[in-house]
């Protein structure tokens, strides 16, 4: 049953999970699902909050009056057996044996309770760690991308065929400017100052060759407001110039929009 548990069925298990009504196998399957399902995780959290205090929300019954004395008396015996100073030491050996056995039984109980509390807190930790892991994984992805970009920039800057190309503003934006450090063998670093693109448009950089333009990719906005592009080697035989056009967001295979920047190589 558990192996074939479909997603919907797993999703239905949030309540039973929080109330502890899943078998070990069902629970394992559900927790695997939980690691990748934000919706279930959110519901589990919310349900845990809901049941907080449920133990106290039961019908109240006053304990019988005689119970109080029994509790106090039995604890007094424990007190003599466990923690009391020398005055209590005149009790018989048999009493001590019984007391020791009772104490041992209590410690087993305590141990079980401790274990249980431990399991609970480990489960909470696991849940927290799982969500932390997915955040870390995202961060790692981003860090890898940034490292790859930085590496590419180093290759370009260190390449012996690296040259600088300055691009000047065209009719669409006469005061715009751009510059590229271009190495045919290693790639390209480009940055530009251009008017902000409308939300459904993007600037695209082209390497213009004798046979037509080849896309070098879309410019992305930096947090500082400029536009940049770092690209791998661009396959372009006999390059003549670099040009930037404004295109539909996502880019196009061949330029269709107005030209913003041009620079001769």
């Amino acid at each position: 049953m558990t192996d074939g548990m479909a997603h919907d069925e797993l999703h239905e298990s949030t309540g039973a999970y929080v109330l502890g009504a899943l078998t070990v196998e069902e629970r394992a399957a559900f927790e695997t699902h939980l690691a990748t399902c934000d919706a279930c995780r959110e519901e589990v959290r919310a349900f845990r909050e809901v049941v907080r205090g449920l133990d106290l929300a039961v019908d109240q019954h006053a304990p019988p009056a005689a119970l109080r004395e029994r509790v106090i008396a039995s604890t007094a015996r424990l007190r003599v057996a466990g923690v009391d100073p020398p005055a209590a030491r005149r009790v018989s050996a048999a009493y001590w044996m019984t007391a020791a056995a009772a104490a041992a039984a209590v410690s087993v109980g305590i141990y079980a309770a401790t274990l249980r509390g431990r399991v609970q807190s480990l489960e909470d930790e696991l849940l927290a760690l799982r969500s932390e892991t997915s955040t870390l994984r995202r961060d790692l992805e981003q860090a890898r991308t940034r490292t790859a970009v930085a590496e590419r920039m180093t290759f370009v800057l260190a390449a012996n065929d690296m040259r600088r190309v300055d691009l000047t503003g065209q009719a669409a934006a006469p005061s715009a400017a751009g510059r590229a450090l271009w190495s045919p063998s290693s790639g390209l670093i480009f940055s530009a100052d251009l008017p902000p693109a409308p939300s459904d448009r993007a600037y695209q950089l082209w390497v213009v060759t004798a046979t037509g333009p080849v896309s070098a990719g879309l410019l992305t906005e930096t947090p500082q407001g400029g536009l940049t592009l770092v690209s791998n080697t661009i396959e372009a035989a006999d390059p003549q110039a670099l040009a930037v056009t404004l295109e539909p967001a996502g880019g196009v295979p061949a330029p269709t929009g107005p030209m913003y920047l041009v620079g001769k190589i």
Binding site: S13, D55, R68, R79, A113, R116
Partner: protein, 184 residues
């Protein structure tokens, strides 16, 4: 009971740790009610519930020195012990191992570390009202799972309903409770 000032409770437990018998009596007077009520709810039998109360206060006495206020209120500490002992008895009665045994695991009840915030009497009142506001079938399914330590399959067998129905009842019931508790 629930509105008790935590620091006062903690102070009493501190006196217990130093061996003051009068402190135990004070703790009993403050909290025996909910301990007994929970024992009765889980075990059904008043005599068994009394035994649990006795065990819980004995354990509190012995462990008073290890009570850590940062991990939860005194009441929640007592309630966790009550729940554990009552469910152990229930499992023994059913011929199961007292420790998590493959049939059902310990519910993530308000345990230490999860309940630094004291549960107010007002919250308990609203929770009780919300529980009583549920459809009978939903409340029964939730209570069998939470208080009687039954797995969803066992609940389905006992109520002679399909497993899927039980799952949905539990989940829908908790969603309703959530709605009721988040309202206002």
């Amino acid at each position: 009971m629930t509105g008790a000032v935590p620091s006062e409770d903690a102070h009493i437990v501190g006196r217990m740790a130093r061996g003051e018998a009068s402190a135990l009596a004070e703790l009993y007077d403050r909290h025996a009610g909910p301990v007994y009520a929970l024992g009765r709810r889980i075990l059904g039998d008043p005599q068994d519930a009394e035994d649990v109360v006795q065990e819980v206060f004995a354990q509190a006495w012995k462990q008073a020195g290890r009570y850590d206020p940062a991990r939860g209120t005194v009441l929640s500490w007592l309630i966790v012990m009550t729940r554990t002992r009552a469910i152990d008895r229930l499992r023994t009665r059913r011929g199961r191992l007292p420790l998590p045994d493959g049939a059902a695991y310990e519910p993530p009840d308000p345990g230490p570390g999860q309940e630094q915030v004291a549960i107010s009497a007002e919250r308990v009142r609203r929770l009780r009202a919300a529980l009583h506001g549920l459809a009978e079938a939903q409340r029964t399914a939730i209570e069998l799972a939470y208080f009687e330590d039954l797995s969803q399959s066992e609940i389905a067998a006992r109520l002679q309903e399909p497993l899927g129905t039980i799952k949905t009842r539990i989940r829908t019931g908790l969603q309703r409770l959530r709605g009721a508790m988040e309202a206002e």
